[in-house]
Symmetry: C2
Subunit: 431 residues, 2 copies
């Protein structure tokens, strides 16, 4: 596959208008997977067999002989994180629970992609139940490093050029962080903007459906299929806020240096940039996010954990024990804290007349080893507030990708992606 | 008002077909209220002024000159428990919180009644937030006794012939118990069968909308308006289950004796009656109901209690403190316990081939005094399972009304009311 074939938007356009044939495109993806999957291990038991995916591509081609009729993701192979139910494929969730106990109707997000002509290439590796106990996936940029998590396989599969689109999910930092570690675009829409039905719940009030692509144009094309009532927005230039204070201090020194280079480049490139004091009480923000996540996850997993507690990994087990002990009063406090945090962030953006906040996608580049998927500490506040966020690559630190995350107001998903189109060009190669 | 005018179904029929005039009917209700409200105190600050209710009745009459067009509750004055939002009336909820903080769109249940031609006569007294801290209402059968709670005013208003229909709610025993204490029919539909929107939440997974009428025909007429997709059911004769064991032992001796007289009368009257062992672990059923109620109420009231804790009465305060301390793990256990209890009850009904369970509506007649609204212990299990339940009067013990509650399978609301029509006749006057 040439580099030009990898971005979703250009590949999908070529497939829809007939410049590329879906059977041949699927074969190209499969070739790429065959070449590197044994190193990267993005897929759960590998992708679908070549014969099966080819047959699906042929059936699709037969169904839509006329380019005029073809839906916008016609013939696009996609990777699906293995916590989404997909008809015909088991959901294993990176866990030791028998797949027969993890069943349900196909997730709405998957159905929307399939209705738009996408072909599910297979299930991608997730950490156990989308928390922190890692799977076998490696970072395509350096096999000695984690791809990040929990959407490890989806990020790695897109980054390695195996598929142009993959679905993930984020409850703390599971889309934005792996996107950054793998040097690709990740998009977490506003909470609830893409239906979460058919996706195994971790903490429902924090769980977001997300996606990975090579570029912003691809993310926009996929988002327009996944969300209800997508309204195209004009590309304009946003006023940029950059957080100040203890939130930013959570980044590693090399991560902060890289981030400041990018911020300087934005200002040099003509963007109006304001320093905005946000998350001054970051320890409390993180604590309350952790409490909410633990308590809601303990509720989601209560029955399984009771019956099959031995099957859980150490990180998930610790989370569930913590969550079970949270009191109803403390849980209500955490929810109220979130409501006020959302109001507070909104007020700050208004006060500083800022359209988007740009911050580091992760404390630094991907850590070494695959036992630890890295720290979601830069992402958790934006998951708590449910605001739409895009990960954009900025360059490399110590030979590994780094990036920034761009966050807009709740519900402004369309404008965020429109703004990100220009921002992506301005930040690329600044580190 | 003659006794014949009090039952909802006959009054509504006469109003719809023009044998009675809504202005005159409203005046009759108002006369009755004027005569006894100072003793009974069913209404919050009295009913709507006579002039206002008369004007509403006149407007309604002008709107529907043709009997053919009149909806099924045309001109029927109704009492609405003061935890339901009603456009134009404050919601005070028997509490010391300013009404300006207790606002919201009109409850769906009220809107459905109004759309069906009912006239809201006013708000009826509730215990504080529909829990146990009582209001000033007295039992119309004996002013020295409680009418029961929490839907105290609604039960008393219907029992005293002030209005033929009133709305209540039940989270433990707040419809069935006051209906029994006041000697009228109470109906708690299956959980969720009537939308709870616009009603102040206590414990959402237990909160039911309910209603009070003089007889089963009236309950059926109101239920057909309140529920989605009501399907009339044929009147047949159900197989009756009677609970055995520790659940029944919760009743007072005089209450049990009265109950057994009614059961004997049913058998004599040709009903097939089976003793069914139900709720053998009644202490655990009650504990788990209490935990669920405390924990969910603590969540519903978290913000108010935090800001206005001093305004709460002692019962509610104790409940909220208890609820705040429940852990997420224990809450999940309580929810799972409920799921299993529902399955267990369903299995028992199947096993014994029983259509309805008949049990005492309360441990005995209404306690003396109005500081205590009585014990919901006979009702709580059926609130936990969410099964539809009707309170039917059976007679008097020590000069005060007593009755039985009839419970059917979840969702069998229509059949329950159809069965209850015959059952009501068979149990009436048996004590």
């Amino acid at each position: 596959m040439s580099t030009d074939d990898r971005p979703l938007a250009s590949a999908a356009s070529a497939l829809v208008d007939g410049r590329r044939d879906p059977v041949e495109y699927v074969a190209t993806c499969h070739d790429r997977i065959d070449a590197i999957e044994s190193d990267v291990r993005a897929w759960v038991d590998g992708p679908k067999p070549r014969t099966q995916l080819t047959a699906e591509a042929e059936a699709l081609a037969d169904r839509y002989p006329d380019p005029e009729d073809r839906p916008s993701l016609f013939g696009v192979p996609v990777g699906v994180k293995d916590i989404f139910h997909v008809d015909g494929l088991p959901t294993e969730a990176g866990a030791d629970i028998p797949a027969s106990e993890v069943v349900g109707p196909e997730s709405e997000a998957v159905s929307r992609l399939v209705d738009a002509g996408a072909l599910v290439a297979g299930k991608t590796v997730t950490t156990e139940f989308a928390y922190f106990d890692p799977g076998p996936t490696r970072n395509p940029h350096n096999l000695g490093h984690t791809p990040g998590g929990s959407s490890s396989g989806s990020a790695a599969a897109v980054a390695a050029g195996m598929v142009p689109l993959a679905l993930g999910s984020q409850t703390a930092g599971s889309v934005i962080r792996p996107a950054a570690f793998c040097g690709i675009v990740g998009f977490k829409p506003s909470h609830g903007r893409v239906p979460i039905d058919g996706v195994l719940a971790l903490a429902p009030s924090l769980d977001h459906v997300g996606l990975f692509t090579q570029d912003v144009a691809g993310a926009t094309r996929a988002a327009s299929v996944l969300t209800d009532a997508w309204r195209p927005a004009a590309t304009t230039r946003p006023t940029v806020g950059v957080p100040d204070g203890p939130y930013l201090d959570q980044a590693e020194e090399r991560g902060r240096d890289a981030f400041e280079q990018t911020v300087a480049a934005l200002a040099d490139g003509g963007y109006e940039v304001h320093r905005v004091s946000l998350f001054d009480d970051i320890d409390r923000v993180n604590d309350q996010h952790g409490r909410l996540m633990a308590a809601e996850t303990a509720q989601s997993h209560h029955d399984w954990f009771d019956r099959r507690g031995d099957a859980y990994g150490p990180e998930m087990r610790a989370l569930l024990k913590e969550g079970q002990g949270v009191s109803v009063g403390d849980l209500a406090d955490a929810r109220r804290f979130r409501t006020r945090l959302c109001e507070r962030v909104e007020d700050r953006l208004d006060e500083h007349d800022v359209d988007v906040v740009v911050s580091p996608s992760a404390p630094g580049p991907a850590p070494e080893g695959i036992d630890d998927t890295g720290d979601p500490v830069m992402n958790a506040p934006w998951t708590t507030t449910g605001q739409p966020t895009v990960a954009l690559p900025t360059g490399h630190v110590d030979g590994l990708p780094v990036g920034v995350q761009v966050t807009a107001r709740f519900g402004a998903d369309e404008r965020l992606l429109a703004w990100s189109d220009g921002l992506a060009d301005s930040v690329r190669g600044t580190v």
